[in-house]
Amino acid sequence: MFGRARRLAAEGVLGLNKRNRDYILRFNPRSRYPLVDDKLLSKQLAIQAGIAVPPLYGVIRTQHDIRLLPDMVRDHPQFVLKPAHGSAGDGIVVIAGRSGARYRTISGVLLDFEQLSHHISNAINGQFSLGGVQDVVIVEYMVQFLPVFESLSYQGVPDVRIIVFRGYPVMAMVRLPTRASGGKANLHQGAVGAGIDLATGVTLDGVLGTEVITHHPDTMNPIAGVQVPQWDTILEIAARCYELSGLGYIGVDIVLDRQYGPLVLELNARPGLAIQVANRQGLLRRLQICEERADFNAHYKERVAFSKREFKHPVKGCCQS
């Protein structure tokens, strides 16, 4: 038991306790949390900063507003409903089309307007928000993802998660939906996470639950060796989210849209640690390299260059605890 703990420490694996105390409590000021916890607010900030996000169709703020939904999406057969305070992808409904008067979700379930409005009213009443507070529902563009991951996902939108430490991208993975995850790119719900070499943007092996896997469980295609397009742009967007949020330890979720290119989906102030298993690398080692050598006032282009240089897979070196 202690032997494994020592070996994990030698690999620089970051545990939840250490992440919470040494990184989140130290670098994420409480006052900045609303910026990322409220997806509507972070979307607006991103637009101001000139960072691309999925276009907003409308916001449903009250029970009364639900009736406006058909008008909002009249010209958009596909759209996404997202509670502004939802955590870990809870409460997100992706509508991929219509079938008569009914809405068809990405997983093929048909919902009539009443079912959809019940879901929205639950979301407004805070069913999906932390602490059950009143919420608003964002209606936005459904991302048309680039076919690059088509062989590696079962429905849904695969997204790229990048951990950004004080402006420096330190680790990345792509989250691939599976049949089990219901088309959602969330590792909790059964999606596959595949590590990405930060220097090149090429995928590594994947993780499903706690197991390392080499092939996608539904499509059976090998996970490793896929080049993520526009990798430099993705890294630059991620790095700029630091200035945008003011948070020193964040997870940036980016999707690749056919039409708009890389789009920031959301920011996460408490990003999960499964990314380490996906990369088969500890985060702590990279965080310590940043703390030792990085200039935290550098321009984002320099920061990306530093990350690409230092974090070429596999990153070696000893870790002090």
């Binding site: 494994r4 939840l16 306790n17 009443e114 197991e211």
Partner: protein, 510 residues
């Protein structure tokens, strides 16, 4: 806030907590174990006499200054007599009186004494005694005796021993013989010694008392000679010449008078009895703290009404249960519904006992979940839906209670103690997790919650722990210290060792 700050704070809290604990346990004798008992002695004096035709007044000397022992409780029993106690030169006296009595009379004095080493003979220094008034022959004998004894001794103690030795020789000693022949002189060697010591200007008195034995039964009072050497009282056994107060000797009264007298009655007979027994240590400690002027008991939980004490007995265990949650969540990594929900469930388990508690919890939550899934179809708004689930939970509890009563299953009744709001929230949270993340995640968290509740219940059920935090609430500061230190723990959680195993280089992918 650096680590040093936390460590200093933790050290200060620990020192304060342990210090107060040791003071209360060692000095005040607060019991460290539950049901700890202290040896006590029930002492009893029975007065029997036949009353005369007129008013009767019986006097009994009762213990007051008892070095090494304290009186826990005392009472006076008689039939139809009025009783008063008063201070007298010999100590305390109890006086029974009645205007008229017929037939043989018996009255009792009963007291409970316990060992109390803090109790010393805190007497004022007595004045020098006046020399005894004697006729010339006796005076000469006394002076010669004193001169001779003084020559053979170095201090008050050796003087007394020497003197007692000569008194015990009786007729063989030429000087003592003079006194023994006289009828107005006391025959008791201790009393005779006080007379001689008065001649030598040494304050002395006779103390009478009993030996506290473990075997019950009547005891004979014995005398002991107390001599003041100018600083403190010294004790001498007049027969064995042993110096010092025997540890099991309880001084009952002092002076030359008998233990009891009766006016207006005859055939007085006094019997003393002693019986050893045990008393809860806490009761004795309370009395001792009171006697020593400490406010530890006034400001302890024992000062509260009994019903409130019972509530605090439970409440003080909640931090212990919460500490278990800290350990299981931050050190093991168990997932639960809600942070402190398992503690509240564990509190309910106290009444239902573990197995029944888990069964009842499972029954309510699964029935609640079924109904919650049905409600989901009805599409209700959140707050009305929660209220509905809560109402259903209450109804389920009622139904289970009534059903188990009809079936004669006693534990079913205690379901009423489950925290229903917590249950309703658990059902709601579980159904959401069920829908959002699948049944396995929901069941996993549900089982985790029950597991943590069961562990918290077992720990909170340790009687010794419950006793400790109730008698020594300052020990909860140690829980604060533990949380301070746990809050700075940055190592892995036990379950993370498995979770991150894929990072290890020796791990082979499937």
């Amino acid at each position: 806030m650096n680590n040093k700050h936390i460590y200093i704070l933790a050290a200060l809290l620990t020192a304060f907590s342990i210090g107060l604990f040791v003071y209360k346990a060692k000095v005040l004798g607060f019991p460290v174990r539950p049901q700890q008992q202290t040896t006590i002695w029930n002492i009893e004096a029975a007065l029997r006499f036949h009353p005369g035709p007129a008013a009767v007044k019986a006097t009994l000397r009762i213990p007051s200054l008892t070095p090494g022992y304290s009186i826990f409780d005392e009472n006076f029993i008689s039939r139809g007599f009025g009783v008063t106690t008063s201070s007298a030169p010999a100590g305390r006296e109890a006086q029974w009186s009645v205007r008229q009595a017929s037939g043989p009379q018996t009255m009792y004095y009963r007291a409970i004494v316990y060992r109390d080493d803090t109790r010393l003979a805190q007497d004022t220094t007595p004045p020098f005694p006046s020399p005894p008034e004697l006729d010339e022959a006796s005076q000469v004998a006394l002076e010669a005796l004193i001169a001779e004894v003084r020559r053979q001794s170095a201090d008050v103690a050796s003087f007394t021993v020497q003197l007692l030795r000569r008194i015990n020789q009786g007729d063989q000693d030429p000087y003592v013989r003079v006194f023994l022949r006289r009828s107005d002189m006391p025959t008791d060697s201790a009393q005779l010694a006080t007379l001689f010591l008065a001649g030598a200007q040494i304050p002395a008195r006779v103390a009478h008392g009993i030996f506290l034995r473990s075997a019950p039964g009547p005891v004979q009072p014995e005398s002991i000679l107390e001599v003041h050497d100018g600083v403190q009282w010294l004790y001498f056994n007049p027969r064995t010449l042993q110096q010092g107060l025997p540890p099991n000797f309880l001084i009952w009264w002092r002076g030359d008078e008998p233990i009891a007298e009766v006016e207006g009655g005859f055939d007085l007979e006094v019997t003393l009895g002693v019986q050893e027994s045990l008393l809860p240590a806490m009761a004795v400690a309370e009395r001792r703290a009171e006697a020593s002027g400490s406010h530890a008991v006034d400001f302890s939980l024992f000062a509260l009404p009994i019903a409130t004490q019972a509530v605090y007995r439970v409440l003080l265990m909640v931090p212990i249960g919460a500490l278990m949650i800290v350990l299981l969540r931050n050190f093991v990594g168990v997932k639960t519904f809600g942070t402190f929900m398992p503690v509240l469930i564990a509190l309910a388990f106290r009444e239902t006992r573990l197995v029944w508690g888990i069964v009842l919890f499972a029954v309510i939550v699964s029935l609640g979940l079924l109904i919650r899934f049905y409600l989901e179809k009805l599409r209700l708004l959140l707050v009305p839906r929660l209220t509905c689930v809560l109402t259903v939970v209450v109804l389920l509890m009622v139904a289970i209670s009534i059903l188990s009563e009809k079936l004669g299953l006693q534990p079913g009744l205690s379901i009423a103690l489950f925290p229903m709001v917590i249950l309703a929230m658990t059902i709601e949270r579980m159904s959401i997790v069920w829908e959002e993340r699948g049944a396995s995640e929901a069941i996993q968290e549900g089982v985790g919650s029950v597991l943590v509740a069961a562990i918290a219940y077992v720990v909170m059920g340790i009687a010794w722990l419950e006793h400790l935090v109730f008698v020594f609430p300052e020990l909860l500061l140690l829980v604060v210290v533990a949380t301070l230190l746990a809050g700075r723990y940055t190592g892995y959680r036990l379950l993370e060792l498995r979770r991150f195993k894929g990072v290890l280089p020796e791990y082979t992918p499937q």
